[in-house]
Structure formats: structure tokens, C-alpha cells
Amino acid sequence: MLREVVIADTGGANLASLRHAFERLGARAHVTADGAQIASAERIVLPGVGSAAHAMQKLGAAGLIDVLRTLTQPVLGVCLGMQLLFRQSGEGPTRCLGLLPGEVRSIAATAARPVPHMGWNELEGVKEDALLEGIADRAYAYFVHSYAARPAQYTLATTEYGAPLAAVVRRGNFCGAQFHPERSGRTGATLLENFLRL
């Protein structure tokens, strides 16, 4: 199962860990902001660390917004990259890609629940879907985020951090993981492997 994965350059500084994760699965991965390469790739990953405004600005400047919106091959948004799939982010606020309805909002910090939410959390309500094959309910995944979407129509799995949050989403070819599959042990590797098989 050798696949060519293109990682869209959203301006994040640590894209190497995603690239390494795909390479561990035998796929080839490279980072680009080139629209033609993204449009013709077998698999596209939309990564993201940083702010929604910065990432959308970067995608806009590279002329990638329409390219991404019209992709028909499997796309995986990771962390901020998943948030960009929604209509809007409360971070800014920023208008995002609008591929999923709804808004991403900031997580409220409390003494018991510091923000950013950083750590291993359980996946709950894991639905049957090719993207989640082999991932059990209550499997742990590694989250690092300050914003999140509430569970809704296209949510495939949730996690609990003060409130239920969308952990995995999918609408047709557009998939998203709020956690970091590249750093979530066996669970994350399984999700990436499933994504390559879609």
C-alpha cells in the first residue's frame, strides 16, 4: 500500500512529525503549498499548529482555498487543520473552508481543566466508519488544542473535556481528527492507515 501523501503547507513549524508518521506506514509524504500538486495528489493532509487566522491567510495567499474546497480525493485535517474544515472559527473570528457546518469555539479554562488541553484523552461514541476501523471505544489519543467543535451531524467520535467535543469528523472525502494521530501511538497509526486505504 504505497501512497503518495501531500501535506498542505499551512505555515506550521512542525510538519515533520506528520511526514515521519506516514513514512512509518510505508507512504511517501512531502510538504507543499503548490496548488497543482495538491489538486493531483492521492491523499491530502491539512495540518496545522498555530492560529486559524494565520493558517487561512496563508492558504488564501497561496491561492489554495478553492483548490482545497473542490478536492474529491480523501483529505484529512489534523488538529487546527480539522478546525479549518468548519464554517467558522471563534479564533479571530475567522471564516474557514466551510466544508462542514458549524463553528469552532474556544474551550473554557477552569482550575481543573487547563487550556490548552494537552494530553491523552479517551475517544467516545466511536461510530462504525472505514476511517475508524480497528479503533475501539475508549481508545486513548493525544490532544493539543485550545479550540474545538461540538459534536454534530458529521462527528464520528467525541472526547470529553469539560463538555463533549468532536474528536473525529467525516463528510464524504473530507475527514478530520482533532487529536494528533502522528503522536497517538497505535490508535493514531490505525487512523492514518485507514485514511490511506479509503
Binding site: A16, M118, R183
Partner: protein, 249 residues
């Protein structure tokens, strides 16, 4: 969260990769790669090692050692780290924390604090990795931890120096005092010697993670057994991957 090891730079890369594989398979939740002599020697942690570790690792990975600028952090993150940890350079130039948080986001920025009691107060130490140059950094620990949060740090690793290497248990009183004012994730470091010490620090100091090195390194505590005990006591930790190491490396 159970964290792994401090690597020291005199270990050969092969040893580091063997340890990385072992900790990952045993179920460590994060690895911290410390090059504790980098700051005192005025150099950056070796990027080649960061990249080798990142390639073999599927758990979070934080790098500490001589990161003095946005460019230094960028180089370490580009090699595959998720987070950078700053300690002595942040004491010399606290604005570094703001710069790193603005450029990479708070989630990327860990501040390491070496601290010990002096009289009735907890004081921050600088250059704790170098016996000749280590000294009081001129700051109260609680004040410094308030400041680093305001500047945008996303996590604090508090190394209680008096307990470091003693295996006599974490400094619960100090960690609890810091916990009371720390609203970002707090990781305990220094003193782990038994499974009971981990139970105690999660229960009594309400830390988000516990870091240990020598007890894991020597095998005195096995991570799977530690996690079993923690789960048994009701601490929510990730169980070790049942099939770790089986995905195509």
C-alpha cells in the same frame, strides 16, 4: 501522564534509539529529550538526534537544551519535535517565552523550572545542569511561574532540585503550592523512586503529569506495572498499547 527520560549527550545515538523504542513499547505517554549541558555550553541540542528520535516515535516528543531564539526552536520543531522546553535562556530573556508563544502557539512552549526551598521561600535556579555555574536566578518560584503563564507558556515542568536523583519521592508541598497558582498543565519532576511516589503526586499535588528518568532507565519501575497500579487507584492514564511496535517500522 507518565513521562520518560532525560537523555544526556554523552550517550550514543544508538542507545537513545533503543531507549526510545523501549519506552514507547512500554507505554510512556511522552518523551522529553534533555540535553542538559547544551545551555551551559552555549549550544543547541543536536538536531540530528531530534530527527532520528522523531522518525521512530509515535508519542509526543519535547526537546530541551539550549533553545535561545525563535530560530533555534524552529529548527528543533522542523526536525520533528512537538514542543520545546526552555529554562535558563528564558530566565536570561523572559521575552523569549512571548516570542515563542506568538510564533508557535502556547501549546508548543514548555517552561522548565529548577526550584528549591531557601528558608521559607521557593527560589528558581539557573544553569542547574552545570555544577560550577548553577546558582540562584534571583526569582521566587511562584512569581516566576505566574509570569511565564502571562507570557504565554503552555506547560510548566517543575523540577524540585533537592529531590532530584534521591528517589525519595516528589516534593509534594512545593508542587501543591505551585499547583495552586498554575492554571496551565503542570508536570512534576525530581524524586520518583517507587510506584507509591507516583500515586502520591497525582493524588496530593494534582499534577497533570509526572516525569521520571533514572527509575525508568534502570528498570527499577516498569511503566506497564506503574500504569496498572495508577489505573487501579483510579488515576486516569492511558493503558499501554497492546500491539505497540507492530506498525511497520
Amino acid at each position: 501522564m507518565v513521562k520518560g527520560v532525560r537523555f544526556r549527550d554523552h550517550e550514543v545515538a544508538g542507545g537513545i534509539l533503543d531507549l526510545t523504542a523501549r519506552y514507547r513499547q512500554e507505554g510512556a505517554d511522552e518523551l522529553v529529550f534533555y540535553d542538559i549541558s547544551a545551555s551551559p555550553e552555549g549550544r543547541l541540542v543536536q538536531r540530528r538526534w531530534v530527527e532520528l528520535v522523531s522518525r521512530s516515535l509515535d508519542i509526543p516528543f519535547c526537546v530541551a537544551g539550549g533553545i535561545r531564539s525563535v530560530a533555534d526552536a524552529e529548527s528543533v520543531l522542523a526536525a520533528g519535535a512537538e514542543k520545546v522546553s526552555v529554562n535558563s535562556p528564558a530566565l536570561e530573556n523572559p521575552g523569549l517565552i512571548d516570542l515563542l508563544a506568538r510564533r508557535f502557539g502556547s501549546q508548543c512552549v514548555v517552561v522548565g523550572v529548577d526550584s528549591q526551598a531557601t528558608g521559607a521561600r521557593y527560589r528558581v535556579w539557573r544553569m542547574a545542569g552545570d555544577e560550577r555555574r548553577a546558582g540562584d536566578a534571583g526569582r521566587d518560584t511562584l512569581e516566576w511561574i505566574r509570569e511565564v503563564q502571562e507570557r504565554g507558556a503552555g506547560e510548566v515542568v517543575l523540577n524540585c532540585m533537592a529531590n532530584d536523583g534521591t528517589r525519595s519521592g516528589y516534593d509534594i508541598a512545593q508542587l501543591a503550592a505551585v499547583r495552586a497558582i498554575c492554571r496551565i498543565p503542570l508536570v512534576a519532576s525530581g524524586g520518583a523512586g517507587s510506584v507509591g511516589h507516583f500515586l502520591e503526586v497525582f493524588a496530593s499535588a494534582e499534577v497533570d503529569g509526572a516525569l521520571a528518568a533514572s527509575v525508568f532507565h534502570s528498570g527499577a519501575i516498569r511503566i506497564p506495572e506503574l500504569k496498572r497500579e495508577l489505573r487501579h487507584a483510579g488515576v486516569r492514564v492511558r493503558p499501554p498499547d497492546l500491539q505497540a511496535g507492530c506498525h511497520g517500522e
